[in-house]
């Protein structure tokens, strides 16, 4: 029989330390739905999603019940919708929005809480359909509830498409204005990537990549609270011990993700893709990545030393998790979404955590500038410049970076925006007041970086 202490440890992790499976995400390829007629395409999209994912929520709930492990989200990611728009006869923004509405309807029918993939990959250049899809994003996100959108504007191999960067600054701004009544909430469903990954199960950036199969199950685990509690037992110990403690904890968390992924894949008759072993915080007290960094000895997240602490955390999580799962993928690491993390909300309110520090942190964490509320009057060119900076970090360091900022209409520095639920509370953070307009207006492409002579 299993050791009683181990049983109690598992139960404590779940009951007291917020251990959960953050998401079971079913990836569905929409390639077979492409065609010239918009009504036929929408019909096929709806049918395919509601057929393949009809049992997703039920299976998730059954697993949750039998294993006693909470599975917070059941979600769907689809192949980038821009390819469907490209195949249409006389494609238009209205037709693209019709597909978004179809995705929304299908998601509601099967009961998932988000569907991602209203996406375009334009890291080198645009196709006609991709340009139309991107232009339609503000309308698509404002007229749907569950659809998430992402655009890849750069990659290590292609460089950065600065035309797309410029456009995305404007799109983020328009998206916020379209949903001014909810403080620009739709921007929380829009991510701008560099080096986007094809198998990410986490929203809002999930889409099913071009290299993926017909249907796949990807699982995202979480558990910042468990890591924090484990580190409480390591007070005063050196960094070797800290890294070991995080690795052991990440191993256990990921094993649970692997079990759930295998079980879901078996019950749904869909191949298992990857486990994404990300520490994803929630606004719940004790479920914060910032508190882990503070547990390491920083007075407040954002203090000097935060980048080093995050680098250690991110690396140790990967090292611990890799052995625990047959296939690790997605974004894997530590997320730093400001509005979703109790410790970061507090650090940002006090001014300890600034956008500049967050930018430095994104060099060593798993994604990028995430869930940051900025003043509503921030010019589109400044948002584009923020995107360009993040994309440059991703491009040069061969890692995924992203920007998900919310220029909350009418809000200024010092205000606080309440999104509610997992999306939390966002203190409005100041951005630089100096213009980047001329820089952004240049357009064109930043060439791909040299991969040797690294300094």
């Amino acid at each position: 029989m299993i050791n009683p202490f181990e049983i109690v440890e598992t139960i404590r992790m779940i009951d007291d330390e917020n251990l959960d499976i953050r998401t079971i995400t079913m990836g569905i390829s929409l390639k077979s739905c492409a065609g010239p007629d918009i009504d036929v395409v929408c019909g096929k999209v709806y049918k395919k999603i509601t057929t393949l994912a009809k049992d997703l929520v039920k299976v998730g709930e059954d697993i949750e019940e039998q294993f006693g492990i909470p599975i917070i989200n059941k979600r769907i990611s689809v192949t980038p919708v821009a390819t469907l728009v490209d195949a249409l006869d006389e494609p238009s923004e209205e037709k693209a929005v019709m597909i978004a509405k179809t995705l929304d309807k299908a998601a509601k029918t099967v009961g998932v809480n988000f569907i991602g993939g209203y996406s375009a990959l334009v890291h080198k250049a645009y196709t006609n359909g991709e340009r139309i899809l991107i232009n339609s994003i503000p309308d698509a996100l404002a007229s749907t509830d569950l659809v998430c959108s992402s655009v890849n504007v750069g990659s290590t191999r292609a460089g950065i498409n600065m035309d797309a960067v410029k456009q995305m600054g404007e799109i983020v701004k328009k998206t916020a204005e379209k949903t001014a009544d909810t403080q620009g909430f739709a921007c929380a469903k829009l991510v701008v990537f560099c080096n986007a990954v094809e198998d990410n199960p986490f929203m809002a950036g999930a889409f099913l990549g071009e290299g993926e199969g017909e249907c796949v199950i990807n699982v995202g685990v979480s558990g910042p609270g468990v890591v924090k509690c484990a580190l409480e037992m390591a007070k005063g110990k050196d960094f070797g011990y800290v890294a070991e403690t995080i690795k052991k904890t990440a191993f256990k968390i990921t094993r649970m993700g692997q079990l759930v992924a295998r079980e879901a894949s078996k019950r749904l008759g869909v191949p298992f893709g990857i486990v994404d072993l990300s520490l994803a915080p929630t606004p719940a007290i004790g479920d914060s990545v910032a508190y882990i960094l503070e547990e390491m000895g920083l007075e407040k997240c954002g203090a000097h030393g935060t980048t080093a602490a995050l680098a250690l955390l991110n690396d140790a999580v990967k090292k611990g998790g890799v052995m625990a799962s047959g296939y690790v993928g997605g974004l894997s690491g530590a997320f730093i979404p400001v509005s979703e993390d109790a410790g970061m909300i507090s650090a940002a309110k006090e001014g300890a955590l600034t956008i500049e520090k967050l930018e430095a942190m994104t060099c060593v964490c798993s994604v990028g500038l995430d869930m940051i509320v900025i003043p509503g009057d921030t010019p589109a060119s400044t948002i584009s410049a923020i995107i360009a900076d993040e994309a440059a970090i991703g491009m040069v360091n061969s890692k995924t970076t992203a920007v998900r900022v919310i220029p909350a209409p009418g809000k200024k520095e010092g205000d606080v925006v309440e999104f509610g639920g997992l999306l939390g509370t966002g203190p409005v953070m100041p951005v630089k007041r100096y213009s980047s307009e001329e820089f952004i207006n240049r357009g064109g492409r930043i060439p791909a970086p040299l991969q040797s002579l690294k300094n």
Binding site: P4, F5, I7, V8, T10, I11, E65, Q66, G68, M256
Partner: protein
């Protein structure tokens, strides 16, 4: 299907009797029992086998949950694999 029943709380009369009665009523066979006091809490762990194909897992968890609430105990029922996968390579 094997599962682990964990009862945590203040020691009192009748815990084993009540829990095992519910298990018996749902055609669940007890394979092993151990009990110990951990951090001042009474902890009983049962390894059980679900032998009925018709009684849903949820019925058992609901019945035990209700019993736990009545006695001020926390009772979990979880499939064995969660523990073996987490703690064994």
């Amino acid at each position: 299907m094997k599962a682990v029943v964990t009862v945590i709380g203040k020691d009192q009369k009748g815990i084993i009797a009540k829990v095992s009665n519910i298990l018996y009523a749902h055609e669940v066979n007890i394979l092993d029992i151990s009990q110990t006091v951990m951090q001042d809490m009474f902890t009983m762990i049962m390894l059980v086998n679900f032998e009925s194909d018709v009684i849903p897992f949820k019925d058992v968890t609901d019945a035990l949950d209700e019993c736990g609430k009545g006695m001020g105990l926390s009772i979990h029922v979880q499939r064995e694999e969660i523990f073996t996968s987490m703690h064994r390579i």
